[in-house]
């Protein structure tokens, strides 16, 4: 094969640039321009009067473009128009309708039961053994004082019912809490199954048996959780029955609307519904009868409009028959729950439940309850909190959107009862925070008066604290409140009680007071939690305290000047918790720190925090976790600035490198930061380094040079070598730059075939191609070293490319060679396309020396030979398409960079054109466009020879 010589086209970059540029046309004020900002001048809308005279003016300075928003305002805006024309009566009635709608649906500001569920299950647990007693059969032990002599018929009838699942009477003893929960879940499932298989009687029996479990108060600590579990089943049942009856109302013609009235319900549905109520009315025992009826309360809607409003008071009264005060308060809670769901506007029943509860309140201290507590070995302070979930719920239902007067009345009633701590607590848990907060001092007074032996006081203070975190007490009371509360809190002996309370009050303290008070509080917490390493059991609370403190102190210089903050952090001795806390702190820092800082207090503290995070990394740390930690540490590094003290800055980076050597992204960040520092220095010196700054810049370069090899990611290293080399070059550190580039070149053979990207193995060639192209652009301006041969870096790089094992099926190597050709062409120009200030590139070094150009051309020839060789190997069937596209791309390269006045080059390009079209693989449109381009180019000055070339390039028509 003949060797083709290369002749670069000489370029006048400046002229080319000027010719490519669009003509600039000055823009007159008021002319249209798409990027001109739309300025809307004030648009005045007069207050809309009732009569409906509306006027609004709007104007826009850009007349040609209408701002869509202001254009709406042009004329009468639809809302004010509506307001003006609307008939006041109509508005009134529609408001009424809306009010009613709001009444019948509880708003989103009502905390739903679902939220409470988990909390209760988590809080009321037991290690004692539980039992479930299910009599799925009959009620054989019926108390009959009259001799039974039922007719045969009736007897068989009853037995038929009883026979259902006869023998499934069982008592499950010795269940652990988890077993119990599982059993209940099974029951819930079997209820659904029974229902689905049309065994309605069995379903009812399951529900009755389950609600019967609620009359059992053995293992009383578990009762609230039991209530949660069993009422879940009841809810399921209620829903099933309602949906079933609802579906019966749907006939072929129409579906019942959501707000239907009983007249729309057909007879069959009514009859079925009535049957359910009759069946439930005959349940012998009070508690199951109550719960099951309450669960299908909503079904009253099918029977009559007033059904629910008649039923609720009756059910409320019915609860009076429940002797055990705990069982009865939970029954009330359930009724309120169902009531709020079905008919939230019926407030009287809610209130009645509350007042009835107050009437029975004294029972708690009665003999029956006390005896029971003795038998079960439960103390009053742990018994009373069992009431809280139910009471809180009832109180919450009542206080929802309740007038202030009602709340005051409720509070007064509570006050009148002896040992009202329990009530007080529920008042504080359920009432609006604002209501409580404004009366904080009253509450503190009441809490103080409470009986020590009853409801635990720390719970009361906790509840009060929770309110104060949400709403602010009167300005004047604030300090006194804190003092009064903390006086009590600090006296709490049990660390758990203490920390639960303190955790809540920290929020209040942070919100209203300065670092002095916060410091005192933190000191107190440390004092309480340190003995016997009590902090070990309270990490969540301590963590929450930290979160609250940092949420309020965004200024980290203030935060770290809180003396006890760092000692507080020392309490987190378990590493995982410690790291979590550190992460929180860093997150807040990154989010809120606006200005870079050099405050030594912040730096020391945060370096310590970051070090803690960094040191937690080990072989088992997950990638995500590492990424998160690195992100946080990087955020910190970016925020550190010593201003003009660059040396201090560099020594900080040195220190950071030694601290965070295990996190690659942090090292990468540090290298970038140091590079940036070098460029900053250059900027300050306006490019003229003094001896001192030159030395400093070299120190920066050295930092990068020794840091990069410690990284693992191969492309990270390559790119950083290139980048740092560029920085070194920009700072006139030529030999250092050479060292970077050489290092990069010697690293290329190590690039593996496949690399791991986001957990997936991908071929690396495309990344290598991208890197090399980037590298070539830099190499253009790297001046040759006087002691090495001409273009030594390019040669070395070519050798490496030559030796690299490329994928057989790809043409990347040839693409790279094509790029090298471009580079060499650019290098042979008299003036290079770009330069670095104060660095003489080869153009000025060699000054167009013919020997240099000859070397250059020789290299070109070698490269071209390689390309042509490769094109030849592609002459096989399956590779023809590749040959065509590669050929065309080579053609384009010659067109762009080669001097086509040279005959052989000209001939080569014609050959390539034919090659591209030879096997019909070329895209005709591309070929046409290319030809058009050549013709257009030929019209430019000095390009006349292209006309002749164009004539020699035939277009192949496809047949």
């Amino acid at each position: 094969m003949a060797v083709f010589p290369w002749h670069s086209r000489s370029r006048n970059y400046k002229a080319e640039f000027a010719s490519c540029r669009l003509e600039a046309v000055p823009l007159e004020f008021g002319d249209y321009h798409p990027l001109k900002p739309i300025t809307v001048t004030e648009s005045k809308t007069k207050k809309v009067s009732r009569k409906g005279s509306t006027s609004s003016t709007s104007s826009s300075s850009s007349s040609s473009v209408l701002d869509p928003l202001s254009s709406v305002l042009d004329g009468t805006d639809p809302l004010s128009m509506f307001a003006a024309t609307a008939d006041p009566a109509a508005t009134d009635s529609s408001r009424k309708r809306r009010d009613r709608d709001e009444n019948s649906i509880v708003g989103s500001d009502f905390e739903p039961w679902a939220n409470k569920r988990g909390e209760i299950l988590a809080r009321y647990t037991t290690t004692e053994k539980l039992s479930i007693n299910l009599f799925m059969g009959s009620e054989k032990g019926k108390a009959g004082t009259v001799t039974s002599a039922m007719s045969e018929k009736v007897r068989t009838r009853l037995e038929e019912l009883d026979d259902f699942e006869e023998g499934s009477q069982k008592e499950l003893l010795n269940l652990t809490q988890q077993d119990y929960v599982n059993r209940i879940e099974e029951l819930n499932q079997s209820l659904k199954d029974a229902w689905a298989s049309d065994q309605k009687v069995k379903a009812l029996k399951i529900v009755i048996q389950c609600s019967k479990l609620l009359s059992d108060t053995s293992v009383i600590q578990f009762y609230p959780s039991k209530f949660v579990l069993i009422t879940d089943i009841l809810d399921t049942f209620g829903k099933l029955v309602y949906e079933r009856i609802f579906s019966m109302c749907v006939d072929n013609r129409s579906v019942l609307p959501d707000h239907f009235s009983p007249e729309n319900v057909n007879d069959t549905a009514k009859e079925t519904c009535l049957n359910w109520f009759f069946k439930i009315a005959s349940i012998r025992e009070l508690i199951p009868r109550f719960y099951v009826e309450a669960s299908i309360l909503k079904c009253n809607k099918f029977l009559s409009k007033t059904g629910i409003s008649e039923c609720l008071p009756r059910l409320t009264c019915m609860i009076r028959g429940i002797g055990d005060p705990l069982v009865s308060v939970y029954a009330r809670a359930y009724l309120c729950r169902v009531g709020m769901e079905v008919a939230p506007h019926l407030k009287e029943s809610l209130n009645k439940n509350f007042f009835d509860f107050l009437l029975t309140f004294k029972q708690i201290h009665g003999d029956t309850v006390q005896n029971q507590l003795v038998v079960q070995g439960v103390e009053l302070p742990s018994y009373l909190p069992l009431y809280s979930p139910a009471m809180d719920w009832i109180f919450q239902c009542i206080s929802y959107h309740a007038p202030e007067a009602l709340l005051t009345e409720m509070m007064d009633r509570c006050k009148k009862l002896g040992n009202n701590a329990l009530l007080l607590n529920s008042v504080m848990s359920a009432f609006r925070a604002e209501f409580i907060a404004t009366r904080s001092m009253d509450f503190i007074g009441m809490i103080k008066e409470c009986d020590e032996s009853g409801f635990p006081k720390h719970l009361l203070f906790r509840s009060l604290g929770l309110n104060l975190a949400l709403a602010d007490p009167p300005e004047g009371d604030r300090l006194q409140i804190l003092n009064e509360a903390w006086k009590v809190i600090t006296k709490l002996k049990n660390p758990q009680d203490y920390i639960n309370c303190a955790e809540v009050w920290v929020e209040y303290t942070c919100k209203h007071f300065t670092k002095r008070e916060v410091n005192t509080v933190l000191a107190d917490v440390i004092k309480h939690m340190t003995p016997d390493r009590a902090f070990e059991d309270s990490y969540p609370q301590l963590h929450s305290i930290i979160k609250k403190v940092i949420a309020h102190f965004h200024d980290f210089s203030v935060l770290f000047s809180v003396e006890k903050f760092l000692p507080f952090l020392d309490m987190f001795q378990k590493e995982s918790v410690r790291v979590e806390v550190c992460k929180c702190i860093m997150e807040v820092f990154i989010k809120h720190q606006q200005e870079p800082t050099k405050d030594p207090v912040i730096l020391n503290a945060l370096l310590h925090v970051c070090k803690t995070m960094h040191d937690s990394v080990n072989a088992l740390t997950l990638e995500d976790e590492k990424r998160m930690l690195a992100y946080l540490i990087n955020g910190f590094i970016k925020m550190v600035s010593f201003g003009r003290d660059f040396e201090q800055q560099l020594s900080f980076y040195v220190e950071a490198r030694s601290m965070f050597c295990n996190l690659e992204p942090v090292l990468v960040q540090l290298i970038h930061s140091v590079n940036r520092l070098a460029m900053e220095t250059r900027k300050v010196m306006k490019g003229n380094h003094s001896r001192k700054t030159a030395a400093f810049v070299r120190a920066c370069v050295a930092y990068c040079f020794i840091t990069i090899p410690s990284l693992v990611g191969i492309f990270t290293r390559l790119n950083l070598y290139l980048h740092s080399g560029q920085v070194a070059l920009a700072n006139q550190c030529l030999s250092q730059a050479d060292a970077f580039f050489k290092a990069a070149i010697s690293l290329i053979p190590e690039v593996p075939k496949m690399i791991n990207i986001d957990g997936k193995m991908r071929p690396s060639e495309s990344f290598l191609l991208e890197f090399l192209c980037n590298f070539f652009s830099t190499l253009l301006i790297v001046p040759d070293h006087p002691e090495h041969g001409v273009l030594f870096l390019v040669r070395e790089l070519l050798n490496v490319i030559q030796d690299y094992t490329w994928e057989d099926s790809s043409d990347d190597k040839i693409r790279i060679y094509t790029c090298v050709l471009h580079l060499l062409s650019a290098m042979s120009q008299e003036n290079y396309l770009y330069h670095i200030d104060k660095v003489d590139s080869n153009d000025s070094l060699y000054g167009g020396d013919s020997k240099f150009l000859a070397e250059n051309n020789k290299l070109c020839e070698t490269v071209m030979a390689q390309i042509l060789e490769h094109l030849k190997t592609l002459a096989k069937d399956e590779a023809l398409k590749r040959q065509s596209s590669l050929g065309l791309s080579f053609f384009n390269s010659i067109l762009a960079h080669g001097d086509l006045r040279n005959n052989r080059l000209n001939q080569l390009s014609v050959n390539l054109w034919h090659l591209a079209q030879r096997h019909g693989c070329a895209d005709t449109r591309t070929m046409v466009k290319t030809l058009e381009y050549i013709k257009k180019r030929s019209k430019q000055p000095d390009m006349g020879h292209l006309t002749e070339l164009a004539l020699r390039l035939p277009l192949q028509t496809r047949t």
């Binding site: 108390a143 009759f278 009076r320 069982v327 009835d356 009437l359």
Partner: protein
Amino acid sequence: MGTSLDIKIKRANKVYHAGPIQIINSTIEMVKPGKFPSGKTEIPFEFPLHVKGNKVLYETYHGVFVNIQYTLRCDMRRSLLAKDLTKTCEFIVHSAPQKGKLTPSPVDFTITPETLQNVKERALLPKFLIRGHLNSTNCVITQPLTGELVVESSEAAIKSIELQLVRVETCGCAEGYARDATEIQNIQIADGDVCRSLSVPIYMVFPRLFTCPTLETTNFKVEFEVNIVVLLHADHLITENFPLKLCRM
């Protein structure tokens, strides 16, 4: 293929307005002799329950001694070669609601150890005072029995308070009178040691299957009573009995 005969009554609880009648085999002819087309043939029918003399059309009632049952029989006579077909079916009769208003008959009651009868050792009984009232012992069968009960005091803890609905049938026969009392429903209204001085509602829905208006004829009687049963700890059982009069209005 055999031929079958079936009777379907659209509403089992349709009310037949009727005054006093005599119960006889009143017969109507539904179809004139002829031939049915093959397949299912539905023949709608309706006939009044004829009244005769001064007999009463009692409500359907299934008891121990007394049964009042109404049946419908359909006969299909066929040609000599085929057997005649017969089908019977029960239908339920509710008497027409009585005109006029029910006069309420409220009852107040007080139960103490002293008011009890049939006590062996009155001294052993713990002290208690239970007061209450029934809103009416004349009850409409479709309306619940209502009232209130207050445990004013009780030395012993209360276990349970129940309402026991009892039906009493009496009928005359050769040997004299037979009387049978059956518990037909038991409803607990208080469970556990209820709060003192707080009224507990008395509320019981009459079961549809086992109750009918109180019935008194020359031959038999069906009557109802309610017992208020209080169970104290140590298994003391106190029962207070109230006769009821049920009617349909």
